[in-house]
């Protein structure tokens, strides 16, 4: 394992030290493991809180700031945060106007955030939860833990954050998040496996020229393994897979996210985006907004994910609203 770390045990704390040093505009509570807006709590504003295992940076800490999250709770690498973190986040950023959690649908995240919500309720604080489950690689059935939350998290956090910034109520913020999630589908392909620092070796073997199609952001194995093909073919198949589970028709608009998994350089992501754009253009689908880069990563995994969010004027308007976070920044 070759990583720029001190010890596997201290990765989260050392990373938080770096985030604290790099972003004076954020408050980093290393003891409580909470990153929050320095100007929180903002009276009358719904507190938007998310979190999850570390190793997916910039998710979620890189999305804290005006127009997006009020606080993020980073867990250990690939391990969901604990309820104490969410409670600390609430007490740091709750402005008295309600709390909304954005939770990616993994058993650990769901359980820890729901324990936190229960404990908050005991303190008289009502918490609403938006569950993100956009990964079409997993069948959403009673025989699975349901679809995983991946790239759509960025869209959900952005539009919820924009609405919260304008003073909308908790119910409204949660419901736009649910709407954005329902409008989103994602699918990922890994070229290499991620190495969790504590494990010290790649999470799975991916020999020679093979790729994992439908991989999860913690290295959960995908739908199948197959030989790497030219980007054009591979992307065409990924687009097919996402659209097969979507309700997009010619004339529709989307927000598209071509997301790197951590170890794939930007020029490859642009190349992939070019193929995505060409395939969608063939079907008459317009990419109204897009992101190309590393947003929801999986440590050093090479590969990419595609997220398509069907966009209506309201979602686009919220997407365009000003945001000032380490990873998303526009005005």
């Amino acid at each position: 394992m070759k990583k720029l770390i001190n010890t596997p045990e201290s990765v989260l704390d050392d990373t938080l030290a770096g985030i604290a040093a790099a972003h004076p505009e954020l408050t980093v509570d290393r003891a409580a493991r909470v990153v929050h807006r320095a100007d929180a709590p903002r009276p009358g504003k719904v507190a938007l809180i998310s979190g999850g295992g570390s190793g997916h940076e910039p998710l979620h800490t890189g999305f804290v700031g005006p127009g997006m999250l009020d606080a993020a709770c980073p867990g250990e690498v690939f391990t969901s945060p604990v309820p104490d973190q969410m409670l600390a986040a609430i007490s740091a950023v709750d402005g008295g106007a309600g709390v909304v959690f954005v939770v990616k649908n993994y058993t650990g995240d769901v359980l820890n955030f729901s324990l936190a919500a229960e404990l908050a309720a005991e303190q008289g604080i009502e918490v609403r939860t938006v569950l993100v489950d956009d990964d079409v690689a997993v069948q959403d059935s009673t025989f699975t833990a349901g679809r995983r939350g991946t790239g759509a998290t960025v869209v959900v956090e952005k539009v919820c954050g924009a609405l919260a910034e304008r003073g909308a109520g908790a119910a409204e913020v949660a419901s736009i998040g649910e709407l954005a999630n329902a409008a989103s589908r994602s699918f990922a392909v890994a070229l290499t496996a991620a190495t969790v620092p504590a494990a010290g070796k790649p999470g799975f073997d991916l020999p020679g020229d093979e790729i994992e199609v439908g991989v999860g952001i913690h290295g959960e194995p995908g739908r199948r393994r197959e030989p790497l093909r030219p980007a054009r073919e591979l992307v065409a198949e990924v687009v097919e897979t996402v659209l097969a589970d979507h309700t997009l028709a010619s004339g529709d608009q989307v927000i598209a996210l071509v997301n790197g998994l951590g170890g794939t350089p930007l020029h490859e992501l642009y190349l992939v985006y070019g193929e995505v754009a060409a395939r969608l253009a063939e079907r008459g689908i317009t990419i109204a907004r897009r992101l190309v880069g590393n947003y929801v990563t999986s440590l050093d995994m090479a590969g990419f994910s595609l997220t398509l969010t069907k966009a209506d004027p309201q979602l686009l308007e919220l997407w365009d609203a000003p945001v000032a976070t380490p990873a998303l920044h526009w005005s």
Binding site: T107, L111, L115, F143, A198
Partner: protein, 209 residues
């Protein structure tokens, strides 16, 4: 079960986790995300810290409850809230200052119920429930039959171990392994395996040395 036994049980579990965390992590790497051993190790290290500072007069139930709270605060992942809630519920159900066999069996049943309520898993879903349920059932039977704690906990440990092994041919329907569908078959569930450690530790501290 009294204060000392509760403490001894948790310490023995912590020692077993410390010794076998790599095995747990490897099982989790195969069908999960490869952190189960690391998660529990972090959690039980914190539990050990808690035990070191504990009031010797604390009733056994409060020992378990506080250990459960510590697991919830330190583990994260799926297993933290599940084990934590189970211990908390068991601790709450345990009478002070000592509990007999039947009390212990009932308390652990209460723990299992809390675990299942939170996680929604039934026997056969390839989770820790597959080891926890038969272990509690064995305790209950043994209590009903008037067995000693030593005998009962040995039976429970066996049942948990058998339950963990019985997860191998199953297809996971809960937790991260469920994403794998049929490819989760032929792997032993990490959480069921750590549950077997928990009951083995109980048997260990219940036997005279």
């Amino acid at each position: 079960m009294d204060h000392d036994l509760a403490v001894a049980w948790l310490r023995a579990t912590a020692a077993a986790v410390e010794q076998r965390h790599q095995e747990l992590t490897e099982l989790d790497a195969a069908i999960g995300d490869g952190d189960h051993g690391t998660n529990l190790r972090r959690g039980f290290a914190a539990v050990t810290g808690l035990l070191d500072e504990l009031d010797p007069a604390a009733p056994p139930g409060s020992v378990l409850t506080r250990a459960g709270t510590t697991l919830i605060s330190k583990v994260g992942g799926a297993s933290g809230p599940l084990y934590g809630s189970a211990l908390r519920a068991a601790g709450t159900a345990l009478p002070a200052p000592t509990a007999d066999m039947m009390d212990l069996a009932q308390a652990l049943r209460a723990g299992l119920t809390a675990l299942q309520k939170l996680g929604g898993a039934a026997v056969g879903d390839k989770t820790m429930v597959d080891a926890f349920e038969p272990a509690v059932a064995a305790l209950e039977r043994a209590a009903f039959d008037g067995f000693t704690l030593r005998e009962a906990s040995a039976l429970a440990a066996e049942a948990a171990e058998a339950g963990a092994r019985a997860t191998i041919p199953l297809e996971a329907r809960k937790g991260r392994a469920s994403y794998l569908g049929r490819r989760s078959i032929d792997h032993q569930d990490p959480g069921a395996t750590s549950t077997a450690l928990l009951f083995a530790a109980l048997a260990e501290v219940s036997s005279p040395h």
